[in-house]
């Protein structure tokens, strides 16, 4: 049973930026897999329910507003869960727990970074988006500017972010389902692509949101159960849990403090910036603020989401320590421990390093240890549902950028008929599904772990600066936003490509052109300074128009006057 899920680890690796790259994946482990029936049955039930929802949603998805925003009919609480669902990826669940398992306290440092973007979203972005936008964040970023250049920029920022995120998720999902079903990778990736196309094309935002809500509830429930079981075993005493973990872990008491995750402060701050501000620039997250009826519901939904996500991250810390104590320390003699790879134990590896499938499997083994085989099946099905839900959200955000921003606004100059725009959005969803399958196949044997990190860096260096400055700085002009935004986008991509991970490990060059993998500390200022400088130097007639439009935008942004009818709710 345990060996069946070996490569769940890959799913986590692909979704976890930076830290996961150190770990290796034993690709040979997946060649021959036994069939995991509990996991398959639970996954099939999940798919059945979500397809039912999609059928129900499809009948309500007749207008563009219904497709992009579920007609604005999602409540603050529901949206809070959906946002949490979008954000609690396999990376958080498998990756962070695995990080706690391997290094203890370092996992908590990572969790903190993933959470602190949410207050920023609440304070600076959520209500502004709701008041100014209709379907995509480009609506807000281009509100008072020349449509063609700014929509093009925002759509590029969205699509590049979505593409990198999508590749990482597809490869992870492919490997995951391959283990669960014993199917070839190709089939696995196609199943994910097809389900994603069905959810998005037929059910639009309504189906995508409910898939996300169901998965978030299951994930929070499953994690709560595991953390509770761990705490019960240790009499609700953190000291007893820590003692058991410290006794068994080869790093001993060092797991109670910061370890090797953060080596130099520049990288630490840079990673922190990407996680913090990237969150406020992810197109599939930003889209969620258009699904609620007003600014009040928007802010409420981020508050709930922050609570759910923060709670979840605290659970990952407990689960990680629980896994050290109950998995690595399952038996006094490592040679009798069913959760360890006995070949590695025989080779002299310690109990932490010898875990079957690598440290990212820790939470799956823990599920088996505290809840038995059926609970393991349940958690495995959730892990896969997590990836499927995130992939659907990404596809919807990508399809919206193509149909609403590129087709309707750039290509048709805002004169597209709604029916045509809908048709394009559905064609785009199908095309993105095919593209995702193609990319999943192309990147099967590539190291894709850096791609989520890159997606966050791009979101923080292109989408976020343009969005923030357009809302708060009167002086920004079309030219400034266009040049600054593209500078941020290009510098983030260029710096990541020339850094140690991609340049050396992926492309096989001898030495990196620059020493940093975490680049937001450089690319974010480049974007902001670029926007500021090129706006300042811009004396065109368009620039005067841009600045003159600020006041009307600002009044709507602050009061919501004029926003109510914008999404035809």
């Amino acid at each position: 049973m345990n060996r069946v899920l070996t490569l769940l680890t890959t799913a986590a690796l692909t979704a976890l930026p930076t830290v996961a790259m150190a770990a290796g994946v034993a690709a040979d482990d997946i060649k021959k897999q036994a069939t995991n029936f509990p996991a398959i049955i639970m996954f099939v039930i999940f798919v059945g329910i979500t397809l039912g929802i999609t059928y129900w949603a499809a009948r309500r998805t007749k207008s563009a507003a219904a497709f992009y925003t579920a007609g604005g009919g999602i409540t603050g609480g529901q949206n809070g869960l959906a946002i949490a669902g979008d954000y609690m990826s396999a990376a958080s669940f498998l990756g962070i727990t695995g990080l706690v398992y391997g290094s203890g306290y370092d996992g908590l440092i990572f969790s903190v970074g993933w959470l602190v973007g949410w207050p920023i979203v609440t304070f600076l972005v959520a209500e502004q988006l709701r008041n100014l936008g209709k379907f995509t964040f480009a609506d807000v970023a281009s509100f008072r500017f020349a449509q063609t250049p700014i929509r093009t920029l925002a759509a590029c920022g969205s699509l590049v972010t979505v593409a990198f995120y999508l590749i990482a998720q597809m490869v992870g999902a492919g490997k995951l389902i391959q283990i669960l079903f014993g199917l070839p990778y190709l089939w696995a990736v196609i199943i994910v692509g097809v389900l994603m196309i069905v959810y998005v094309t037929f059910g639009g935002m309504t189906a995508t949101t409910w898939v996300q809500i169901i998965k978030a509830v299951l994930l929070l429930g499953g994690a709560t159960f595991m953390a509770l079981m761990v705490l019960i075993k240790f009499g609700f005493s953190p000291e007893a849990l820590f003692k058991a973990a410290v006794d068994i872990h080869p790093k001993k008491v060092a797991i109670m403090g910061p370890g090797s995750l953060i080596t130099d402060p520049i990288s630490a701050i840079s990673l922190g910036m990407a996680l913090m501000f990237g969150t406020a620039g992810l197109p599939h997250i930003l889209m969620r603020f258009f699904t609620v009826k007003d600014a009040k519901a928007a802010r409420k939904s981020v508050f709930y989401a922050t609570g759910f996500i923060g709670y979840f991250y605290i659970l990952t810390f407990i689960m990680g320590f629980g896994a050290i104590a109950l998995i690595a320390g399952n038996t006094a003699n490592p040679a009798e421990n069913p959760f360890l790879d006995q070949a590695l134990v025989a080779a002299g590896k310690d109990a932490i390093a010898a875990i079957k499938g690598g440290s990212n499997m820790a939470v799956m083994h823990l599920a088996n240890a505290v809840g038995g085989e059926y609970f393991l099946g349940f958690i495995a099905a959730i892990a896969f549902a997590t990836i499927l839900a995130v992939v659907s959200g990404l596809a919807l955000a990508g399809a919206s950028a193509i149909s609403h921003d590129l087709y309707a606004s750039v290509f048709k100059h805002g004169k597209a008929a709604e029916a045509d725009e809908m048709r394009v959005s559905k064609i785009a969803s199908v095309a993105l599904g095919f593209l995702a399958v193609g990319l999943g196949i192309a990147f099967e044997n590539q190291n894709v772990a850096y791609m989520v990190g890159l997606a966050f860096a791009i979101a923080a260096s292109c989408n976020f600066p343009v969005l923030l400055m357009s809302v708060f700085w009167k002086g920004m002009t079309t030219r400034g936003a266009f040049i600054g935004g593209f500078l941020g986008l290009i510098s983030a991509v260029t710096l990541v490509v020339t850094g140690p991970t991609v340049w050396v490990k992926v492309l096989g060059n001898a030495a990196a052109l620059q020493p940093y993998d975490n680049v937001a500390i450089f690319s974010m200022p480049i974007a902001f300074i670029g926007i500021w400088l090129f706006s300042l130097l811009d004396n065109s007639a368009r620039a005067a128009e841009d600045k003159a439009g600020f006041e009307a935008q600002y009044i709507r942004c602050q009061t919501g006057i004029g926003a109510a009818g914008a999404a035809s709710h």
Binding site: V112, P119, F123, E239, G257, P265, R299, I314, G560, I561
Partner: protein
């Protein structure tokens, strides 16, 4: 009503200035608070690893654990402060401005 008239009405309403001032100063000060909280934590991780790894009393629990969890809880609480204030005060002001603009 034309857009220009609405803009003029809202702009000349002293409550609009009050709303913008109050909301922006709260949002920006809370943003700074989160930045200080988080990057303060990251700087501790970068430069004061020893402090975070110091046990509290004779326990295994180190200062780092409550501090790390505290940053998560703190971020949630700061979000809550904003939402509470916005629900009570800013929404009332906004509703009044909208009403007086009609």
């Amino acid at each position: 009503m034309s857009t220009d008239i609405i803009i003029n009405k809202v702009r000349s309403n002293p409550k609009f200035a009050e709303l913008v001032h109050k909301r922006n100063s709260l949002a920006f000060s809370l943003t700074i608070a989160v930045l200080v909280l988080y990057f303060g934590f990251i700087l501790l991780v970068g430069y004061a690893k020893g402090f975070l790894a110091t046990p509290i009393g004779s326990n295994l629990m180190t200062f780092g654990v409550p501090i790390g969890i505290g940053v998560i809880v703190g971020a949630f609480v700061l979000t809550g402060i904003y939402v509470r204030k916005a629900n009570a005060e800013f929404d009332t002001l906004t509703a009044q401005i909208v009403e007086e603009t009609k």
